[in-house]
């Protein structure tokens, strides 16, 4: 990878991490309501998985979706405004944190029901296949989703119809407070997916390079009508399941261990290993991120919600 590309990766990581931190701050200030699920720690998974996507590929995922939206090219201002419930949010404040969505980015949400996005991913892929487009569908979900009925229906169908779906399982080991051993008879997400007859990959989700390498292969295969494949990205969320979760089910040691594998310092080190990059360059990127995020928060703070009369708008299309 070129230096400029790696700097871009670093920027995206800092942006995603910074956005989540700002969201946490605004949530504790009461500006964001409801549920707020933060991606901090898992940045390498989203960025690595999406690095080789084309603009016209489809992305769909779960409620932990701020990073998906931003990495796909979404405007942090519109994301923060959506979290604030304001009319200039990407969904006019009607979706909220869990339902970011932007068709112009080919990012199709943001779903609150675990594994609810999986059958929809099948539909997106089916349309692409039927129209003879060579775009693919990237579908994100967590370890918890792999026990849901709809998830199995979706994986089966995608394999049956040889659809261009890349299933990306963010195995952060916990579904709220229930760890994988306590919920899954088969602890290997990849093995479960294997049963549907598709190629499976298990990868270190804290490592951008490994992640993007595996994703590149899966995406290429899907695009060449090779059908679906499955990536189990072993990763970790540094925060609780959501802002309401004190995450007492995890020990401090465990969290510290995974913090020592933080993808951002790892990436920075890797870049410095391969290229001549001084601290000022990183600092400049950091400053840019701060500026962008400050602007996003200001934009959100200055906005306001839609008037009550619009509560029945946008139910039906003409």
């Amino acid at each position: 990878m070129k230096k400029s590309e790696l700097i871009q990766v670093y920027y995206l990581m800092r942006l995603a991490r910074g956005f989540e931190t700002r969201a946490a701050e605004q949530y504790t200030k009461g500006r964001i309501g409801g549920f707020c699920h933060l991606y901090s720690g898992e940045e390498a998974v989203a960025i690595g998985a999406m690095w080789h996507l084309r603009k016209d590929d489809y992305v769909i995922g779960s409620y932990r979706d701020h990073a998906y939206y931003l990495v796909r090219g979404g405007d942090p201002r519109k994301a923060m405004a959506e979290l604030f419930g304001h009319e200039d949010g990407c969904c006019k404040g009607k979706g909220g944190s869990m339902h970011l969505f932007d068709p112009s980015l080919n990012f199709f949400g943001g779903y609150a029901v675990v594994a609810g996005e999986c059958p929809i991913a099948v539909g997106l892929a089916k349309a692409a296949q039927m129209k003879k487009e060579d775009r693919i569908v990237l579908c994100f979900f967590g370890d918890g989703a792999t026990n849901q009925g709809a998830y199995h229906e979706a994986l089966n169908m995608a394999s049956l119809y040889n659809l261009p779906v890349v299933w990306v399982c963010e195995n952060n080991y916990y579904a709220i407070g229930t760890s994988v051993p306590r919920s899954s008879a088969q602890e290997s997400m990849a093995q479960k997916a294997r049963a549907y007859g598709m190629p499976v990959h298990v990868v270190d989700g804290m490592d951008f390079f490994k992640m993007q390498s595996v994703a590149e292969r899966a995406i290429a295969a899907a695009r060449a009508s090779g059908g679906p494949s499955f990536i189990e990205a072993k990763c970790y969320r540094y925060r609780g399941h959501s802002m309401s979760d004190p995450a007492t089910y995890r020990s401090k040691e465990e969290v510290e261990h995974w913090k020592s594998r933080d993808p951002i310092p790892s990436l920075k080190k890797a870049i410095q290993n391969d290229f001549e990059v001084g601290e000022e360059e990183f600092a400049a990127v950091d400053a840019r991120v701060t500026q962008v995020l400050d602007e996003a928060v200001r934009f959100a703070e200055a906005g306001h919600e839609l008037p009550p009369e619009s509560r029945i708008d946008d139910i039906y299309a003409e």
Binding site: T21, G30, P246, P307
Partner: protein
């Protein structure tokens, strides 16, 4: 300068307690550091540092209980001067109070199709009130939506009527003696005056004023619900009132139906000049055929009497008439009223257009009518305008009785039991069965001769079964 506030750590948290600060003014901090331990309503959680910088000032110390959103410290961002007094920092912008949620707009009203001519819009409840208070609602203008007459319109009409009755009493200023609570409810002075004037029993009053105070309105309501002396009193009123103690008897309010019936039968007896005429019929031969007729057609003595009545009326149409306020109503059909015994008492079910019915038809329709009467399923049609009524108490061994007329029928025939009696026939004396029939007649439209002739014909038919059953589908 960043304001550090008491964070909202859970949905339900409204205030938190600072357990312990981990930093002090002047300390350099980094994003992600733990600044303090905070106790929320659910647990002890860490206060996270969201920016790189330096702590400028701790505003609330260890142990402070602070509402969510209130400042507890200030920090300078990277590049800012931590020594700047926090007074220069921005005030917390009070989040503009969210506009109260607009109540959902009422569902768009369908423009109510205009009621067709002659149809008055009145709510079901208002109509009930109007009936109970004796108000003619067709004279009332409704104030409800689309001109609907509502309960209040009826109440207002009641008050208007009442006011017209008490013109001499100056409406005294209402004294709300709400503070004084006595064992008996208060009455406002106007109410006291009305109670005295109309000799109303205060025990019948229900106060709707504060603390149960009886208002003039409450007295007037009772007044209007009382039977109007100006109207014709039910005959009951002419009898001395009965005072009964608990040890002597239990007292219950009669049902509306019974009250109505009592009124009607009293009026019938009161108003119509009755005369009674009795004939005997030797029904020996008729009863000899009873078994066969019952087996073949399910016919009883009552059915046979009905058949005979219909035929006799055909021959004497003058009986099938009614006197009504100076008019003579000549009925086009014979509507046979039959007194049927039900759980609720005796009721008259009407077999409409009975002339020309065969015996099997009479049996069928009467059976059906009687069954419906017993099940309280008689329709208005089933009760309408009997022109001749039959009451049969023969099954109880009654020798003879006189019935009270059932308007509009001008004759009610009381059928007694067929008694064993000596009968002279073909020159010999036999033990036969003789049935006495007593006709109660309305002397305004029926005279003795007409009644006698009719009864004679009726008896003849009952004494000659072949004639009776001729052409009757037997």
């Amino acid at each position: 300068m960043y304001e550090i506030v008491m964070p909202r750590l859970s949905d339900s948290m409204e205030e938190g307690k600072i357990i312990k600060w981990k930093v002090k003014a002047g300390d350099a901090v980094r994003e992600g550091d733990v600044l303090a331990e905070i106790e929320s309503d659910k647990a002890v959680m860490e206060l996270e540092c969201f920016h790189d910088g330096r702590i400028a000032q701790i505003v609330q110390g260890d142990g402070a209980e602070v509402a969510v959103g209130q400042a507890i410290a200030y920090m300078a961002g990277a590049g800012e001067d931590a020594a700047t007094p926090p007074a220069a920092s921005q005030q917390v912008e009070a989040k503009p109070a969210a506009a109260p949620a607009a109540p959902s707009p009422p569902a768009p009203q369908m423009p109510a199709p205009a009621p067709p001519e002659g149809r008055i819009a009145i709510s079901p409840y208002a109509r009930k009130l109007a009936d109970a208070r004796g108000i003619d609602y067709t004279k009332i203008k409704g104030t409800g939506p689309h001109g609907r007459i509502m309960a209040e319109d009826i109440e207002q009409a009641v008050r208007t009527v009442a006011q017209a009755r008490t013109p001499t009493i100056e409406p005294a200023p209402v004294k709300r003696t709400a503070e004084v609570r006595t064992a008996e409810p208060d009455m406002e002075p106007l109410a006291v005056a009305i109670v005295k004037r109309f000799r109303i029993d205060p025990a019948t009053l229900r106060g709707t004023g504060p603390h149960g105070m009886i208002l003039a309105d409450d007295v007037v309501a009772v007044l209007c619900a009382r039977p109007q002396p100006a109207a014709k009193p039910p005959a009951d009123e002419e009898l001395p009132a009965l005072e009964v103690s608990e040890e002597e008897a239990t007292v219950e309010e009669a049902s509306f139906r019974l009250k109505t019936q009592a009124r009607h039968v009293t009026a019938a007896k009161h108003v119509v000049p009755h005369f009674y005429i009795t004939a005997s019929a030797d029904v020996t031969r008729l009863l000899e055929r009873r078994g066969e007729l019952k087996a073949k057609f399910g016919a009883t003595v009552t059915h046979l009497v009905m058949l005979a009545s219909v035929k006799a009326l055909k021959a004497h149409p003058g009986i099938n008439r009614t006197w009504d306020r100076g008019r003579i109503i000549r009925w086009k059909h014979v509507n046979l009223g039959l007194a049927v015994e039900t759980e609720q008492g005796l009721t008259v079910a009407v077999l409409a257009e009975a002339e020309g019915l065969t015996l099997p038809e009479i049996v069928g329709r009467t059976t059906d009518l009687a069954a419906r009467a017993r099940e309280a399923r008689l329709t208005a049609q089933d009760r309408r305008h009997p022109t001749f009524v039959i009451s049969n108490l023969g099954m109880y061994g009654v020798e003879e009785f006189q019935a009270i007329l059932n308007p509009p029928a001008s004759v009610t025939l009381a059928v007694a039991s067929a008694q064993a009696a000596p009968v002279i026939r073909d020159g010999g004396i036999y033990v036969g069965k003789v049935m006495r029939l007593t006709a109660s007649c309305d002397h305004r439209v029926i005279d003795g001769v007409g009644a006698a002739r009719f009864l004679q014909e009726l008896a003849r038919l009952l004494e000659n079964p072949e004639t009776l059953l001729e052409g009757a589908g037997v």
